[in-house]
């Protein structure tokens, strides 16, 4: 009994003292409450649509994180070795290309990427939905990986300035091992996790926005319905838009607020999931900063 009480007290303490864990639990709790509410009041086809869209968006978000980490790591290490190797022309070319990518507003870049995806869908190259989700995520990651690249470069730069780097080189440890194991894995994991959370939030936001935007279509033959359903594309459907429009009714008739939770559940649900996920992601990232003094 005493052990159970102690364990509970420890969990409670950990829960209260770490903001990131609190918000992660809050997100799951929020989603569980929403699911319960939907099971009671939302029709089954709409619920199935939302579940598929949520799953696709989350999978998309995780894939963006994965791709961004790989691309960020590759570009940061590429720049590092080109700089160290004295290969000035290649270094300048790579820096120039990355800066070019940085200056292009993300949504424009993703929009152009979606135009290419549309062409591939029209030519029947991209048929399987999972392949489409992967390619959509890859396109998004092309415009967010620079944050990861900057972070890795900054971490390498920080540790290079310390004696520890040269000392390890003197001990005969390979530079790649120092960077990948000692700097990135052992001393920058918290930073990378924090960045991964931030990238996830950004990915969800960008993917929802682009899917909402292209609901009018990127070609006269292909529209967002040709892509796998995500939160953004389901929100862009007429019935969801009507639900969001209904929020405006509350300003003229406050009592209508009760109707929102029953009559306009689909659109309100998706909007809530998007906003709640973004808020929770922001707080989890902030909690990590506070916990690990990043």
């Amino acid at each position: 009994m005493k052990i159970a009480a102690n364990t509970m007290a420890r969990i409670r303490l950990a829960f209260l003292s770490s903001q990131h864990a609190r918000w992660a639990v809050l997100w799951f709790a929020g989603m569980a409450v929403l699911l319960g509410w939907d099971l009671l009041f939302l029709n089954r086809p709409a619920l199935a649509q939302i579940q598929t869209a949520l799953l696709n968006s989350l999978v998309g978000g995780f894939l963006v994180v994965l791709f961004s980490m790989v691309l960020g790591w590759l570009s940061a290490l590429g720049l590092h070795y080109l700089e160290q190797g004295g290969n000035r022309t290649s270094y300048l070319l790579l820096t120039f290309s990355l800066n070019l990518l940085r200056s292009l507003p993300q949504i424009i870049g993703i929009l152009l990427g979606y135009v290419v995806l549309t062409i591939l869908i029209l030519q029947d190259v991209l048929r399987a939905p999972i392949l489409q989700v992967v390619s959509m995520s890859f396109v998004v990651s092309l415009f967010v990986f620079l944050e990861v690249s900057d972070l890795i470069r900054e971490r390498i730069g920080h540790y290079r300035a310390l004696d520890f780097f040269d000392a390890m080189l003197c001990c005969g440890i390979k530079e790649s091992r120092i960077i990948n194991t000692e700097i990135l894995r052992k001393n920058s994991l918290a930073h990378l996790v924090h960045k991964a959370v931030a990238v996830f939030g950004m990915a969800v936001f960008l993917q929802c926005s682009i899917d909402f935007i292209i609901s009018v279509g990127l070609s006269t033959e292909v529209s967002s319905t040709n892509f796998p359903a995500t939160l953004g594309s389901v929100l862009a459907r007429m019935d969801s838009k009507q639900d969001i429009l209904a929020i405006g009714m509350v300003f003229t008739d406050v009592s209508y607020i009760t109707a929102l939770a029953f009559r306009h559940l689909q659109g309100i649900n998706i909007a809530f999931i998007i906003v709640f996920t973004l808020v929770c992601t922001y707080n989890i990232a902030n909690g990590l900063v506070r916990r690990y003094h990043l």
Binding site: P105, L112, V115, S209, S219, L235, A271, I274, V279, Y282
Partner: protein, 376 residues
């Protein structure tokens, strides 16, 4: 600085060149595609006895095709589809209509786009200025609250609710429940504010669509500032810089040298709301003055990424809310109808805007750094 300028101008020139080549390639390909499509279906459309608008004639034509070429049913299908697509394009494709004005990138189109571009720049500049100011203000308020040792409103509410039953804690039952509930209401208000600030622009836009004019510049500006998480994210960045700066050694030295380190609101040695809100911000005799100036110096370069993200937000607003007559709505429409020359010109314009912002930020940063190093 010269190297940076060359890089910026070089990237503008590079992108312009690439876009020009793409436009030329697409124009050439589009013309040849159109010619090929027309050549494929033209002989059939000229058949005197077949009216392709009539379903019976279409069915008869299809059967005749199958009779003549029984082994190539798939090719017959494709031909029927091509004829249908061509006929539909005659009605829907602006490129095939006569009397619809200029179809590609022409001077009238450029003039029309220029007006939209200027309006876009004005909105962008105002939103950038407002978010720059508001992000710093929010971060400063959060920083001062942190220095005051204030906990979150929820924790404050829980603390007061616990203390309510204990008169020794300072809250008596006679004062009523109002002092206990105030932090709860504040927490609720903060929650709603967060929900709004994190909402994508299209959610707020559609929610307010019934009551506001979507295409007004004022609405665009307000939406640009408060939505898409822009304000919260950049306020958080500035807050992080303030916290990092406040941990540095010179702050301790300044306190020893008798600068004020009191963070109480509106007290003689503390921080006044007025000094926090006015521009330029001044906190004479207070250590926050130096913390703020140094944090602001580091924050300034983030304007470059803020500019890019802000433009992303404005594009989302204009495209998602279908605000007609605005630059980004025009961009989406041009992509939709495959007028890639106009679409790429608009994208180039937006890219140049980001680059000009980056150049201005770099110039300002360079000047400041020279001043810091006593070279300017």
């Amino acid at each position: 600085m010269r190297r940076k300028l060359i890089e910026h101008i070089g990237s503008i020139a590079f992108v312009a060149l690439i876009f020009a080549l793409v436009i030329l390639f697409l124009k050439d390909r589009e013309a040849s595609d159109r010619r090929a499509r027309a050549e494929l279906v033209a002989p059939y459309l000229k058949l005197p006895s077949v009216d392709f608008g009539n379903p019976r004639d279409r069915a008869l034509f299809r059967e005749t095709l199958d009779l003549f070429r029984p082994r190539s049913r798939a090719a017959n299908d494709s031909l029927m589809k091509a004829i249908e697509a061509y006929r539909m394009a005659q009605f829907t494709d602006p490129g095939m209509k006569t009397g619809t004005g200029d179809r590609g990138l022409s001077w009238p189109a450029v003039r029309r786009l220029s007006g939209m571009y200027v309006r876009f720049i004005i909105v962008y500049a105002i939103v950038l200025g407002l978010t720059f100011y508001a992000a710093q203000t929010l971060a400063m308020i959060r920083f001062v609250r942190m220095k005051q040792g204030r906990s979150s409103y929820c924790a404050e509410f829980l603390g007061r609710a616990k203390a309510w039953n204990r008169p020794e804690a300072g809250l008596s039952r006679r004062a009523g429940v109002v002092p206990v509930l105030v932090p709860l209401f504040k927490a609720l208000a903060k929650g709603i504010a967060y929900a709004v600030l994190f909402s994508p622009a299209y959610v707020i836009g559609y929610a307010l669509r019934a009551g506001f004019e979507m295409d007004s510049v004022l609405f665009m500006i307000v939406l640009g500032v408060v939505s898409n998480g822009l304000l919260v994210n950049y306020a958080n960045k500035f807050y992080t810089l303030l916290v990092a700066e406040s941990r540095k050694g010179y702050v301790e030295t300044a306190l020893v040298k008798n600068l004020s380190g009191v963070y109480a609101w509106n007290s003689p040695e503390g921080i006044s709301y007025r000094s926090l809100l006015r521009l330029p911000r001044r906190f004479p005799g207070h250590v926050l003055q130096h913390v703020y100036l140094n944090a602001r110096h580091q924050y300034f370069p983030t304007l470059k990424e803020q500019a890019s993200f802000l433009i992303t937000g404005l594009i989302i607003i204009e495209m998602a809310l279908n605000i007609q007559g605005h630059l980004c709505y025009e961009l989406l429409q041009n992509i939709l109808y495959r007028r890639y020359d106009i679409a790429l010109t608009i994208i180039l314009g937006i890219f140049v805007l980001v680059k000009v912002t980056e150049i201005l930020v770099d110039l300002r940063q360079h000047r400041e750094e020279r001043r810091y190093e006593n070279r300017g």
